[in-house]
Symmetry: D2
Subunit: 337 residues, 4 copies
């Protein structure tokens, strides 16, 4: 904690601040500069910086230790590599996940998986729990959907990823799913994160629409601090003033997060752009920027999809994209299945 006093404040102001931080168990160090006096408060406890900001004469208060530890490179310098069904995320590896937005029927999954397996996809995605913005829209097939997903994936020797939205759904997800996703709206559902810290399957946390990088890492910390070391971070677009694209896909997430954290960073170009013809360019861009994985929506008949068909690729488009990615990956030192 660093506390900057306003220029020319009386000595009593400085003394009161020192007294305050000491009363909270911190050691205070003072630097008298030409213009400002600065107090460094060192300790293991936490104070809300705003409590100090309100003391007289204080100009600004800055926290200097980041609040995440287990997620940081300081704690673990080497990359975490997570492996699922032979696909690796992190380090020199780039993993790919593909599949429809939502489980609609076994037939739909079967057809999509049959197409994707030809493009070497080994992890199938699809949502079974789908509460939507409008109470009047299709809400997903639930546990029955998970069963279908498992069955279709098994038929093609694929692993499975799906979103868990609620503590009550964890049990079913653990049974059928290999990577549990936490959606953007649940990124700060701390009750859910805490429960997910107790399972022993990989958890993919999507960045919230208005979440900072630090908040995303704090959410990862919730899962890590409960003992689950397999956390994947996923950028899927943030909300900005620009509304032509559904969201603004912040690809700088890749170098930013990988610098401060050892966790793998994935990109979701489907939600990140919201439009099919933007998915391939943004996927290639993500790979060129050094991402550790991609999760892409593909549907065997996107124009008949019950949900988000507009952002789903046709299987043939996915195949073209896969071939482009295979060429770009080695340029940035990544191997891919």
């Amino acid at each position: 904690m660093l506390i900057t006093m306003r220029p020319g404040v009386p000595k009593e102001n400085v003394e009161k601040v020192i007294e305050f931080v000491e009363s909270r168990g911190f050691a205070a160090h003072t630097i008298v500069g030409e213009i400002n006096t600065v107090i460094g408060a060192v300790g293991e406890k936490t104070i809300d910086p705003r409590d100090i900001e309100l003391l007289e004469g204080v100009a600004e208060v800055i926290r200097i230790t980041s609040s995440y530890k287990l997620a940081s490179r300081t704690f673990q310098p080497e990359d975490t590599v997570i492996e699922v069904n032979g696909v690796k995320f992190g380090g020199d590896h780039l993993g790919l996940i593909a599949g429809p937005c939502t489980v609609e029927s076994f037939e739909q999954l079967d057809k999509t998986a049959a197409a994707l397996v030809k493009s070497n996809v080994k992890i199938l995605r699809a949502g079974a729990f789908k509460p939507r913005t409008s109470p009047y829209a299709f809400q997903g097939l639930g546990e029955e959907g998970l069963q279908m997903l498992r069955e279709a994936a098994d038929k093609y020797s694929m692993a499975v990823t799906s979103e868990v939205m609620e503590i009550s759904q964890i049990e079913a997800c653990e049974k059928y799913v290999d990577i549990l996703q936490v959606g953007a709206r649940n990124m700060q559902n701390f009750n859910l994160l805490r429960e997910l810290s107790k399972i022993r399957k990989p958890v993919m946390i999507k960045r919230g629409l208005a979440a900072t990088f630090e908040e995303l890492l704090m959410s990862a910390e919730y899962v890590l601090s409960g003992g689950n070391k397999q956390v994947l971070l996923c950028e899927r677009g943030i909300r900005t003033f620009e509304r032509v694209t559904r969201n603004t896909l912040d690809l700088c997430a890749i170098p930013v997060l990988k610098k401060v954290s050892h966790l793998p960073v994935l990109i979701d170009p489907s939600h990140g752009t919201g439009l099919r013809d933007k998915v391939a360019p943004m996927s290639r861009a993500a790979v060129a920027a050094g991402c550790d994985g991609l999760i892409i929506e593909v549907h065997h008949e996107p124009d008949k999809a019950l949900c988000d068909g507009a952002q789903s690729l046709y299987p043939s488009q996915y195949d073209t994209l896969y071939n482009e990615i295979k060429q770009i990956a080695p340029i940035v030192g990544k191997t891919i299945l």
Copy 2:
């Protein structure tokens, strides 16, 4: 649904769009303008507008019926007025809620309530469930906290409002709490909203950090559509590029929401600004703009608060503010207890 074609597209493009919308059960009406052709698609079903946007020759697609119905003034022109412990929100009434951020102990609640009752506060607020951004911070007292809150409120003939964060907490909240709050991070926790639609106590929904007005109303629709008619909307600040204030309190929420919806609109100036010395000016502003209620953090000893003390008023500051509000309210046609 209105579909604008690009200028000069061939007739076949227009015909394909008409065919597409008719195949989805819509009636198509075509307007041939000097520059563009526009197709009006009328029907009761829903299509994802982006599915049409991807058809050849389409310039833009616009939904024309808003997705909320029960929350709209079209459905109910007169204001909804919600009454709790004699305090009214909506119509000509301005209701006030005050109390600490978090339940810390019975003594804390008792002291704060004893002070607030002198300023005519009849609804006490305090959080019992408090998952925080950091897994290492204080997490709340849970159901035991709710009991303390109830006990303290009863002692001063107050009603009680507190946040429910999880479906599993609804039962306890129903037992002890008079208004159940849904926090900003849970605004789109649709599973939770659906469960809250089944209870028969008022539910206050806080606008998410990155939620549009329409999304807030859609969340209200979830609760209304399940049969719970007592919904309060609450603006508590949105996230913008400006970070000097914790959030940007969007007071225009008041005239915007009140024009399109009959539901009462409350303002939370404590979270909306994050700093004590901004709470009083923003509270007065909200009243002058015509809000239906305020929810304000007050702590008997803010500098010892376990949570958000920096944005809590001292009881004496609340009293001063109350006296200012009492003078402003009648100027905008509002009565206050």
Copy 3:
């Protein structure tokens, strides 16, 4: 400048940072904390903080002296009060400015001024230079418009405010205008600001759509540093993800700016909301929050206005609003003409 090192970095890293800042003319003070080492760099020069961020082992760098001086309360604790035609902005005074968006004709100005003078308006606003987002829209009457504005104002003993968009327009503005406005898009047109620092008439600077409070104050500093002490700050809405309102009017600008600066803070509710029926509530709110002035668009026939008619009040609406404001102002300690 405060430099926080990552936990556990080798001593050489710290030494290199010290060497670096000393080579730039700063004195370095080191605080060794339990977790991090922090270096305080004290001096009068400036370094780009990012240069230090890139040195090995550095976790974060924070500037601690704000870059504005003349605009700060530290430099001048008492409020600046600016008086134009008997109207005062700042201190205990609330000043009002009203008039049409754009000069259309002498008749239009004459009719609007004739109506406004009855509501005690003493400063008339109207734009003569009007480059618009589209090159195909009405672009303003230029210097001829300024002449008309002056003539109409003189007829009713009013002062005049109008926007200057270009250095070449300053001469004409100085001749006809009493307060020169710098528009939101020009807030960081530093060449223009520098020229305006040389004149001796009040300059009103509007906050840019994406400008922080600090940047607004830096722009004020440009004008102040050239010797022009009469600067008015004006909040007119920022751009956020919410697009129902044209902008998000950030009324917290009032307590925030007034705390750190002695300059008067005005609000423009017309551009800040973009819709007539939001102007009155937001004006009342601004007054209740303690603003030093309002600048409001009024047109004698808004539905025939060439520009922004939709956000212009009818004269009778302005009169009603004026009467409400007169009641609210004294509650917050403000006097008004």
Copy 4:
């Protein structure tokens, strides 16, 4: 213009709207839907949509013709290709520009250019006019700087690009510079754009910090409509709530702008990220997404740069990046010198 009426409004409301648009020279077509009535207003004039929004019974008004014409693919389906010193931007071509942020001295330019020419750079960038956020910072060398830039470029057979900030600087820029840049803060300086429409050299327009894609294209329209057909668009980051990076570089600008416009789209990863170690990943990403050009800051001694050294590459880093880009470009169908 499409006008949606609220459900169930009386016939008179609809008639008044029709009357209104007809009085403004539009033809009105009415679609009576099951829920809403929609009026299509077709014509060549413009009305402010908000004027109609304020009429009774109107739910929403939507403009349906975009305001830019010359910049759109509708007007010109084939890509505009701009060639400067043998470097091509647009179509199948990817052009590269590199150089320091600011002209500091001839020696600095000479050394940087000598290094860059080895990496095949044929267009040198550097700013001569540099008004900065703070009035107390280095402000650039002006016309003398342009001369130095020209001289250094000529020595290595390079072309030159530099920013023009003011109408008065156009003459000097025309004399010394091959591509004139309009900075983000000037994107809506319409007086400047209009003057630039009269010259016959390429103009690069950078997207404003808070500008939408449509606004960027409208600014291009200003230059095109005056007869200057050589316009380059440049994405350089937008301002969002995330402040770890200086800006959020919106790479989706590439597929979005290239779909609706024929103009070349460049990326500025240096301002877009603000940090040297993010420049290479974002450059590679931009190329993989299909951009038509990159403008990158390189300084022969970044840690001694007077301005933005932290975001400048070392020449050797540029060379590495150039070699990566050369491998990625052909994968997306681009040729590069």
